[in-house]
Symmetry: C2
Subunit: 226 residues, 2 copies
DNA sequence: ACCTGAACACCGTTCAAGT
DNA sequence: ACCTGAACACCGTTCAAGT
């Protein structure tokens, strides 16, 4: 994770030779965009806001970036493609899958905007994400999974990890008013919910998340490998 | 599910007595909003688009609905609150939880905008959703779960169900171009992924979803009840 | 060669005017 | 009593003009 090179890799961008020096770079703009989207949500990512952040006039952004949609594409690639999946050949395939998917989860926690982008109509692609898909499949194929079982397993693991990240970041973004809201409900209408308002806003513990992932892997393996 | 009454319940709205008859009702507006948001996504839900749909000028909407945010609130309540959870007292608590969470999944499939709303910074509340939370907790408390274990179990099940719905609807909305994209990749870079482009766009089978839910319930029960 | 303001078609919403 | 257009502060983006 955490490489400072933020741009997609398949985009050669030769440095300018002469003339006025550039005020910034596509990479810096993308880094600023990622920061805004992660901390304030995708809705806060505005061309005007972004221009402010990098100290440029709005229209100057278009010198570095073709369109806002392109920024979103690259954001998805960065948020989810920054992790390196290097299966440990001495480890169980179960451990390799587990480690990889925990990496995905951590990437989503580091970059909450990744979740919003995964939910968006636009598919999240890019070298990093595609490599991730490819490596996960390779691990499962090597373990004896059929293509269908392998994809179902990856989808199931992703679903869980996306769902957890989704719940956690939307909870985190909306401060603490959920507990107040529960406390304001009529106890006779919602007796069980109001009996313990604090429990509901509790974060899912890491060991529960990891246990669930391991159980999913086990279950899918049993089904796929008879 | 499927009641025709779409409004929240805690909002008494007395019928007008005299004067010009109303062109429409808050309920009809909400129904139209739900339709747009479900079929075209939350981003397509525009006050202007909504006004068109109900045959009103934009500003006339504000006679029925205080603000767009209020519409979104009610949308969440409708999308997720329309299901009736009535635990069968003759059945296992496991079956009751399973049935309820499958109901949630179906509600999310019927109303994809529910997913977008759950990911939004605004919490999804309303009588239906709160009752659902209350009933699920009650089932688990009765089974002997601690408040923390109960909430963790519900969160885990919700996470999975939200993640699956999220993946499925975003796949559905983006037509079929993901397969084309995979086919366009360089096989030497992504050998496993490109070997079977069709497998990736496959929908998660219902029995895999149900198996996963049952396994999660089992696992959490084992942990919570020693 | 790089940067930027005015302008356009959108968005939600206020407010005063129409019937 | 109900409906609605003009107007405002936003949004992404085009295009012509500034240095």
């Amino acid at each position: 994770v955490g490489s400072s090179q933020v741009s997609g890799d398949d985009t050669p961008r030769p440095a300018p030779r002469r003339g006025r020096p550039l005020k910034t770079s596509p990479d810096d703009i993308l880094k600023a965009a990622l920061h805004i989207a992660d901390t304030e949500g995708l809705a806060a990512l505005t061309m005007r806001r972004l221009a402010d952040e990098v100290g440029l006039a709005v229209m100057s952004l278009y010198r570095y970036v073709p369109t806002k949609e392109d920024i979103l594409d690259r954001l998805g690639a960065v948020a989810l493609g920054s992790l390196d999946i290097d299966p440990d050949s001495t480890a169980d395939w179960e451990d390799n899958i587990f480690t990889a998917i925990v990496g995905v989860y951590q990437a989503l926690r580091d970059h909450p905007c990744g979740i919003e982008l995964l939910a968006a109509p636009h598919p999240v692609t890019g070298a990093g994400v595609d490599r991730l898909r490819d490596r996960l499949l390779a691990i499962l194929y090597a373990a004896g999974f059929s293509p269908e079982d392998a994809v179902d397993t990856i989808t199931t693991l992703f679903a869980y990890v996306i769902g957890v990240s989704d719940i956690e970041t939307s909870r985190a973004r909306r401060a603490t008013d959920m507990q107040q809201y529960i406390e304001s409900l009529n106890p006779s209408d919602y007796p069980t919910l109001t009996a313990n308002p604090a429990a509901w806003v509790r974060a899912l513990p890491t060991d529960t998340i990891e246990l669930t992932l391991r159980v999913i892997i086990d279950t899918m393996a049993k089904r796929a490998l008879h």
